[in-house]
């Protein structure tokens, strides 16, 4: 009964792991290239949107100039919902295909989504005072949007509290995916509970009940918000990639380059 020779041998670390690391490594430079065009588009759209919103779109017949809050309120509200859905999507992809890049995308989006949700709440409250006569009511649309904001906060707080990135990713994914139920509730809440918040002015099935210049301004600002979100998320995801992949070769090469740059300067 002597010890048999060790059956375990060290395998060359290629094969599976190559596929595994491929995505961040190739995505990093790609994201870098996309960055500047995105910023330029975002700035251009913002300027165009604000100009249309303030100088071309006329005063509203009932609300007067307070309605001009629409140019941020609606893009922010839309983005807060869309970003959450995109986050949930990336999380689901990450859980199914076990790709780390998708989790990184998700955590890169969260702060921006939370910001949009906050802006939607803030501008909505400021808009509510002159129009409805109150900053806040516990109506379904408002409450569910507030819950969306909390969901973003919960996602971020949970990720921050967990040291192990893999566990953080998976735990966050659970919130993102389960919380996604909230988004349709927000969207349809004005139909289901007919309370203070107005119904949809823009929908796929009906022509918009809004003067065309107003609509143009709003859509331009919405597109600007899209571009901004993409830009910020790209920068953040690049930062996250470096933070998490510190001990991989491609980040080392990056560090090498930075060192070289330092010594030149």
């Amino acid at each position: 009964m002597s010890d048999s020779p060790l059956t375990a041998t060290r395998a060359p670390s290629s094969g599976f792991s190559l596929f595994y690391y491929a995505s961040p490594q190739t995505f990093f430079p790609l994201a870098g290239k996309l960055l500047w065009p995105t910023w330029i588009i975002a700035i251009a759209l913002t300027i165009a949107g604000l100009y249309t919103g303030f100088f071309i779109a006329p005063t509203d017949a009932t609300q007067g100039d307070s309605y001009r809050i629409i140019f941020i309120h609606v893009p922010a509200a839309w983005m807060s919902m869309v970003v959450y859905l995109v986050m949930a999507f990336w999380c689901a992809v990450g859980l199914i295909f076990n790709t780390r890049l998708s989790f990184m995308m998700s955590s890169a989006l969260a702060p921006t989504g939370a910001m949009w949700a906050f802006i939607a709440l803030w501008t909505g409250a400021l808009w509510g005072k002159p129009t409805w006569g109150t900053y806040w009511v516990w109506d379904a649309r408002l409450t569910s949007e507030l819950i969306l904001f909390f969901l973003y906060c919960g996602y971020m707080a949970l990720q921050a509290a967990i040291d192990d990135p893999r566990r953080a990713d998976r735990a966050g994914a659970l919130i993102a995916i389960v919380g996604a139920i909230n988004v349709p509730i927000i969207y349809f809440s004005v139909k289901w509970w007919n309370t203070l918040h107005q119904g949809a002015s823009v929908s796929l099935t009906q022509s918009p009940s809004m003067a065309s210049t107003m609509l143009t301004g709003m859509l331009l600002m919405a597109l600007a918000a899209w571009a901004y979100t993409i830009g910020v998320a790209l920068v953040r995801v690049r930062a996250i990639m470096i933070e998490r992949e510190r001990n991989t070769d491609w980040v080392r090469q990056l560090g090498n380059a930075a060192q070289a740059g330092d010594s030149k300067a």
């Binding site: 509203d60 017949a61 009932t62 629409i70 129009t131 309370t195 203070l196 107005q198």
Partner: protein, 148 residues
């Protein structure tokens, strides 16, 4: 049961529960969950006496009277069937207009007058410049005269 069958049974139970939830939500919506009463309900004495509640409807055209002190107002809330008189002292929201939606919170006093402590304006999804609104109004009026 094999583990696989167990899992299937669990999924089935879950789906049934979700379906049950959906039906319950739908039945809840059939009921009046909304936190305001219509003037018709108030007229039918369905609303509570001496307690705070909310009333919702349209401000009757031409019913708005401003008090001498400048801050108290009186108006009728209508759902086109019944009308309830409402009194209120305080600043009105800017969207408060005759013919537009309103939600008021307060109590019904003995005279059947609703004493509001808060008045909120409800606004629809239409946005248009004043000229367009004017034109629309003209058109409506014209149509009205034709029908009459």
């Amino acid at each position: 049961m094999k583990p696989r069958q167990k899992r299937f049974a669990l999924i089935a139970v879950g789906v049934i529960a979700l379906a049950g939830a959906a039906t319950l939500v739908l039945t809840a919506f059939e009921d009046n969950m909304v936190f305001f009463f219509t003037p018709t309900q108030v007229a039918a004495r369905e609303a509570p006496q001496g307690r705070t509640f909310r009333i919702g409807g349209m401000v009757e055209e031409g019913s708005l009277e401003r008090g001498a002190d400048g801050t108290s107002v009186k108006f009728l809330v209508t759902d086109t069937v019944n009308k309830i008189p409402v009194t209120y002292t305080g600043a009105l929201p800017d969207l408060f207009k005759e013919g537009k939606g309103v939600v008021a919170q307060g109590k019904l006093n003995d005279g059947g007058v609703f004493a509001a402590s808060e008045v909120l304006a409800k606004h629809d999804e239409n946005y248009m410049p004043p000229e367009a609104a004017h034109a629309l109004e003209q058109a409506k009026k014209a149509q009205g005269t034709v029908v009459q």
